[in-house]
Amino acid sequence: KKITEKDLDKILEDFELSLLESDVSLKVSEKIVNELKKKLTGEKIGLTSNKKDFVKIAVEETLTEILEFKKYDVFKEIEKKRKAGEIFSIAFVGFNGTGKTTSIAKFGKLLLDKGYKVVIAASDTFRAGSIEQLSLHAENIGIKVIKHNYGADPAAVAFDAISHAKARGIDVVLIDTAGRSEMNRNLMDEMKKLVRVANPDMKIFVGDSLAGNAVAEQAEKFSDIGLDGSILTKVDADSRGGAALSISYITGKPILFIGTGQGYDDLEPFDPKWLVERILP
């Protein structure tokens, strides 16, 4: 027998609801459901098979495909450049308060543990206490921070850190940037300028796993600089994690890590299977 559009409508409506309740953005939820409907309408299904289970397997495959798209090993990329004697720079960008500064500290520690030499650029020259916060984190893990004064040009700080790294044989430069609203044209332009000037090897988007539909808008606008991947934070707050799906779908790039707490070891590689199981009932 074949599965009809009518069968699918009811089953997919329930799946769309579970996507929405898991914080997958409305736009992405609708796109996923429409793609599934096209894919499955008229599909042959065994006489003894359960239609709902048949669709569930297809949903799992689709979600996994989105999350595994362009998956890569960031440490492999860093190692390639280190072997070639080149420094590897990473800019961390995102909306206000998502966990950029803390994620940089965690990632920096991860790199130190793997034997890399790291320096951090304090390119958030705007927010009160940002330079002190970053410097204290860096001090705790034993990484040098390149900083200028508040009000300095963020691009200049990043450029300075990269020059410093080249001169001192540092392997990796991590660039902390100010939180910014995707709706603030000036701040989005400032970020584009930093990327032009510093030309980082990677641009990582840091998103809050508790955020709802705004995360889709953020992912879209921040994609203008060409993102290479994302980090999803505050997963320990028991967020469902649907934001990962929105971000992956919209940016076409993988979630690299998840933030699972406020400690320096609370950064884990992202596992698509874990998320799919969380989202689907």
């Binding site: 409305l26 009160a128 206490g129 809050d208 508790l210 955020a211 539909n213 995360v215 469902r240």
Partner: protein, 292 residues
């Protein structure tokens, strides 16, 4: 765009002379979409749309009111049930030495909002004191001090003090002795899964006995808003809500759930990173934003 679709559906309804059931259903579907996009709780959206639809179909059109105006009024009334009040108020301190405790999830905007609130009251002639009782986040006191500095708002804190309860108590005592009108206490971010931090918050609250506990909620929060706010409400008596970051693309629908979970009114909204980017909550404007 969605707001285009919504206003298009409304226009069709205005043109229709009688109650067109299909037009109402179409409009309710568009309202559902707008509310979901605005991060209103999924179950609440469906509950609301059922109520809106049945009221739109069954209620007699009041004299002098168009069908479109009537439906908008219904939507507004249904949403207002969650907001505590339907008028914009300024919420000024009603006694000397009023103590307000600022709580919320990591990164929601507590420290920034504490400074904004201090400036808001200072501008209106009140003597304000700010206590930095976040002993966890590196540079927390420095952030608060720098943010409040250019307006000469006094900030009490000690980056070397690890006991947040002691710090909160001493800070409140310090400003009560200075006869401040209002004392704002900033605390570390925490969420409901961090039992130790939730217990710390309870202890701070029991020690300084605040006149008001304000939950600072990130305007971008999605479907977790209700259960997260509930976590705070179970631990302490939340007296008010401030929704931040509404200058982003988020419409703040999660704030409705937070209000429902805590039973507390939304008093202010944050609209940017500057110290003056705070406004008293305006329910009418909030609802019209939710609807796109």
């Amino acid at each position: 765009s969605l707001s285009g679709a919504l206003s298009g559906a409304l226009r069709k309804l205005t043109k229709a002379g009688v109650v067109d059931e299909s037009l109402i259903k179409e409009l309710v579907k568009d309202i559902q979409k707008a509310l979901l996009l605005s991060d209103v709780n999924v179950k609440l959206v469906f509950e609301l749309s059922k109520n809106i639809e049945s009221r739109a179909m069954e209620e007699k059109l009041p004299k002098g009111v168009s069908r479109k105006e009537h439906i908008i009024k219904i939507v507004y009334e249904e949403l207002s049930k969650f907001m505590g009040s339907d008028t914009k108020k300024e919420h000024l301190p009603d006694k000397k030495g009023k103590v307000v405790l600022m709580i919320g999830i990591q990164g929601s905007g507590k420290t920034t909002t504490t400074g904004k609130l201090a400036r808001f009251y200072q501008k209106r002639g009140f003597k304000v004191g700010v206590v930095g009782a976040d002993t966890w986040r590196p540079g927390a006191f420095e952030q608060l001090k720098q943010f409040c500095a250019e307006n000469n708002i006094p900030v009490f804190g000690d980056p070397k003090e690890k006991d947040s309860i002691k710090l909160a108590r001493e800070g409140v005592k310090f400003f009560k002795e200075k006869v401040s009108d209002i004392i704002l206490v900033d605390t570390a971010g925490r969420h409901r899964e961090e039992k130790g931090l939730i217990d710390e918050m309870k202890e701070i609250s029991n020690t300084i006995n605040p006149d008001e506990v304000t939950l600072v909620i990130d305007g971008t929060i999605g479907q977790q808003a209700f259960v997260q706010a509930e976590g705070f409400a179970n631990a302490t008596n939340v007296g008010s809500i401030i929704v931040t970051k509404l200058d982003g693309s988020a419409k703040g629908g999660g704030a409705l759930s937070a209000a429902a979970a805590t039973g507390a009114p939304i008093k202010f909204i944050g609209t940017g990173e500057r110290i003056d980017s705070i406004e008293p909550f305006d329910p009418k404007r909030f609802v019209s934003r939710l609807l796109g």
